[in-house]
């Protein structure tokens, strides 16, 4: 072996040794990101406190504060009243007592005296007035803006009592009180730009890194007692598979909107829990444009309602969750009617008979939001069911904003599949405030004087459980079943997935997150 070769061998050995040493140094010297992510709560898990790590696919959209901001609305803000998940009986929150006059034109609310905003300012009746007035502003697209606009007078002369005067009685006044967040007038402008969220809720907004994370800290002065968590970090993770992977790997404690399949899989995995958000409502329906060729004939719409296999959709798309039915209402709703809810079950023979009477039906387009696997699967099932009775359907996946555009403009060429919510509130909230049901203008282009009269009658009454209101609900149910401008398919709730160390998680009737009582353990 010559000197050059020995020198080369020594050089190679030294290089190899240096590389191995560097690798070992990296492996032993660096902290594991996985261990760090899993141990960030290790100490907090065995004592009071800790930061709950959640993920959602939706970032904040400050301009539409009243819609889709379920994390901020649930954690930072309180409402005047709350509902239990399976009831529409008002429960105290910032309002401790209430009285509505017999004619339904005056509502008096007694307010808590020990409440302050996160910046330390005391909460008064003026804040309730400001919150309701802001919500009523059409520019902010509050879902129940029409109900808020019915309030014609505010008496805030007493700091902890407010007297509301209404232009006419409304049956969903307490729905409004359960939905409108009490906001701070001094920082309202910053609220709609996402710079500052100053509420009275259990958690203070601390930081928003756009597209990445929203952070909250416990409010030590919360009127219902200091939360047991120190804080909440909500990460923005657009991909459902990534959210599932992160909770499986221990990087997350809570996934806010898992797919049904992911929730089912995690729910049966030790260490995780799938929690249906009982009391919320996500109803899937088949919309019909009643001015489209073929669909103008109500017999064709009835044939479609009889041709669709709701049980198959429930079994295959909803994995057995939810309820099939023909009406939107949950069982606790005053408009619920168990018999009428079963008016249309799959009956291809009856559907064919109706179609024979109606004559030939042109090919019908069926739109759904592209990128929504559930919507796509439902559309395919509907297509197959309608083919069975002789109706040809062409599927039209549409980009989500285009889908919304057609929904609002009522420009679908035939059928569409999507969701509606708000059936979990008093019936008038759905028929007055949910656009697909709106009697003045809706996605189906269904305008009917009787339906409008029944919707108004159900709304303009002070007691949503009065005989008059119930009579209006019966008429509304008949309208919905007779005209079938919306064909209900399956009603389901939302759901969360948590690791088993998260306890006492809660939510509002609207599905907003409530972590005021939540705590962590090692379990």
């Amino acid at each position: 072996m010559n000197r050059r070769h020995r020198r080369k061998t020594r050089w190679q050995s030294k290089t190899a040794l240096a590389l191995v040493s560097a690798l070992l140094l990296v492996l032993t010297g660096c902290t594991s990101a996985v261990q760090q992510a899993r141990s960030e709560n290790a100490n907090a898990a065995v004592r009071e406190g800790g930061t709950l790590r959640a993920a959602t696919n939706l970032d904040l959209v400050p301009a539409t504060f009243y819609q889709g901001q379920s994390v901020v609305l649930g954690l930072v803000y309180d409402r005047l009243i709350d509902y239990h998940s399976d009831s529409l009986t008002p429960q105290p929150s910032l309002a401790t007592g209430w009285q509505v006059s017999h004619d339904g034109r005056t509502a008096t609310l007694e307010l808590r005296e020990d409440v302050q905003f996160h910046d330390g300012r005391p909460f008064t009746s003026a804040d309730v007035e400001f919150s309701l007035r802001t919500y009523a502003d059409p520019a902010h697209v509050g879902q129940l803006a029409r109900t808020a606009q019915a309030i014609s007078g505010y008496d805030t002369s007493a700091p902890h009592r407010i007297v509301l005067t209404l232009a006419h009685p409304v049956s969903n006044l307490f729905d409004l009180f359960s939905i409108v967040p009490i906001i701070d007038s001094a920082t309202a402008a910053q609220l709609f730009t996402g710079e500052k969220y100053n509420g009275t809720g259990a958690f203070k907004f601390t930081n928003w890194t756009k597209g990445t994370k929203v952070a909250f800290a416990a409010n030590p002065d919360y009127w219902d007692g200091k939360p047991r968590l120190d804080g909440v970090d909500v990460q923005i993770v657009p991909d459902a598979q990534t959210r599932t992977a992160q909770i499986r790997s221990g990087q997350l404690d809570l996934v806010l909107n898992p797919t049904i399949r992911d929730a089912d899989q995690l729910g049966t995995t030790p260490g995780f829990e799938a929690i249906p958000t009982t009391g919320t409502s996500l109803s899937t329906y088949l919309g019909t444009n009643v001015t489209a060729p073929g669909l103008a004939d109500v017999r064709v719409r009835k044939a479609i309602a009889l041709a669709v296999d709701r049980d198959r959709i429930q079994a295959e798309v909803f994995q057995g969750h939810g309820q099939t039915g023909n009406l939107p209402w949950p069982e606790y709703s005053p408009a619920f009617d168990a018999t009428k809810n079963k008016t249309y079950a799959k009956d291809p023979a009856a559907a064919k008979a109706l179609l024979n009477e109606a004559g030939p039906v042109p090919e019908l387009p069926l739109a759904y939001s592209a990128g929504d696997p559930a919507g796509e699967r439902i559309a395919q099932i509907v297509q197959a069911d309608l083919a069975e009775v002789g109706i040809t359907v062409t599927l039209e996946p549409k980009e989500s904003t285009l889908f919304l555009k057609d929904l609002v403009a009522g420009t679908y060429g035939g059928l569409w599949v999507t969701l509606h919510t708000f059936a979990q509130f008093n019936p008038a909230t759905l028929t007055v405030s949910a656009y697909p049901f709106n009697s003045d203008k809706n996605s189906s282009n269904f305008i009917d004087a009787e339906y409008k009269a029944h919707a108004e009658a159900a709304w303009k009454t002070s007691d949503p459980t009065s005989p008059e209101a119930r009579a209006a609900y019966v008429a509304l149910n008949d309208d919905l079943l007779e005209h079938l401008f919306l064909i209900e398919l399956v009603s389901d709730t939302g759901r969360f997935v948590t690791s088993s160390k998260v306890h006492d998680i809660s939510w509002t009737h609207l599905g907003n997150l409530d972590l005021s009582q939540t705590y962590l353990t090692e379990g």
Binding site: V26, G29, C30, T31, S32, A33, V34, A37, E40, D59, L60, V61, P62, A63, T64, Q67, P138, A139, V141, Q143, A145, F192, T193, G194, E195, T209, K210, G211, T212, D233, Q235, I236, V237, P238, D239, Q241, T242, A245, Q246, R248, S249, G250, Q251, E399, T401, L402, L404, K405, L407, V408, A409, T418, L419, H420, F422, S433, A434, Y435, N438, K441
Partner: protein, 319 residues
């Protein structure tokens, strides 16, 4: 040289102006607008009209264009209509994240290509060549959303040795060792197609060089294959590969859109995807105009460098 550069500037400005018109017009031709997204599925047409008014979308298109152009020229880029923040802040934060990801992926791609290509030509084993060829074919053929999900499930969920997406809670700069672990999976996924392309190109380039007479001479002198490759052949094989590397940078930035979505990495791709789907006109316009501006500047620089290296180009332009 200065005169040559100055002569090139008007055409660069013209390209930017035309691009701004095209971007603005094309965005408005896409059905739907931010008001529809913001209003949501239960909004009434009246509510949508109100939001359009708020966002200044009810004015004439020409007026909107000049308002936007004026803002760009005075560096008042405006606010995102959906997220609400200043656009320069949004883009600045996202650009740093994308740059970190793309740069890491680029380094990984180069390292992988370098190791595999040199190993193939030095050891000259059939199994190794087949292995590398197979890797290259697979890495190019399999889309990065597939490799992303597979690696995420393996390393993030099954073996739990790397984070399953996201960014460190304390930020990228706080703990570099933690950041490196968050970065590794997305960077590898992003790097694989480029690594495959570079490997194939570098391997072929090395093989071509190894057939040249100077290599035969070196072998005749008893110099080993490895030493020939590292001391003589590589130097000559690299320049054409570097040209390909430049093209790969664009591919990496394009691929980042998908990879950032899978790994919840908050970069420019993530921002652009979201801005397009929500019709966030101000953000999309600036991001697209920025990409055109970068291209124009790079083109201008390369023309200037070319001219400085080749006097004929300068003189031809002067005629």
């Amino acid at each position: 040289m200065v005169r040559y550069t100055v002569r090139r500037v008007p055409s660069a400005v013209a390209i930017l102006v035309v691009a701004s018109v095209v971007i603005f017009t094309l965005l408005r031709l896409i059905p739907g607008d931010p008001a529809i997204f913001l209003a949501g599925p239960d909004a009434s047409p009246a509510a949508i009209v109100g939001i359009r008014e708020q966002l200044g979308l009810n004015g004439s298109q020409v007026a909107q264009y000049f308002t936007w152009l004026g803002g760009v020229l005075t560096f008042e880029l405006g606010r995102s209509v959906v997220l609400g923040g200043q656009i320069e802040t949004l883009i600045g934060a996202a650009a740093i994240n994308t740059a970190v990801l793309a740069l890491t992926a680029l380094v990984l791609a180069v390292l992988i290509a370098f190791v595999l290509s040199t190993a193939v030509v030095i050891f000259e084993r059939r199994w190794l060549t087949s292995l590398v060829t197979g890797f290259s074919a697979l890495a190019v053929a399999i889309p990065n959303f597939v490799t992303g999900v597979v690696l995420l499930m393996l390393f993030g969920v099954l073996w739990m040795v790397l984070p399953a997406g996201g960014v460190p809670s304390a930020g990228l700069a706080a703990k570099p060792d933690i950041t490196a672990q968050y970065l590794l999976l997305p960077a590898v996924v992003l790097a694989l197609p480029s690594a495959a392309a570079l490997t194939r190109f570098l391997t072929e380039s090395l093989r071509s060089q190894l057939e040249l007479p100077y290599v035969t001479t070196a072998r005749a002198l008893g110099i080993g294959q490895g030493r020939i490759v590292f001391t003589q052949v590589l130097r000559n094989a690299l320049p054409p590969t570097v040209t390909v590397l430049g093209l790969q940078v664009g591919q990496l930035l394009g691929g980042a859109v998908i990879v950032e979505a899978i790994f919840a990495w908050p970069g420019l791709g993530h921002l652009l995807e979201r801005a397009i789907s929500t019709r966030d006109y101000p953000v999309v316009q600036i991001l697209l105009l920025l990409s055109v501006a970068v291209f124009v500047v790079v083109q201008l620089l390369s023309d200037v460098i070319h001219a400085s290296l080749d006097p004929r180009v300068r003189l031809e332009g002067a005629r």
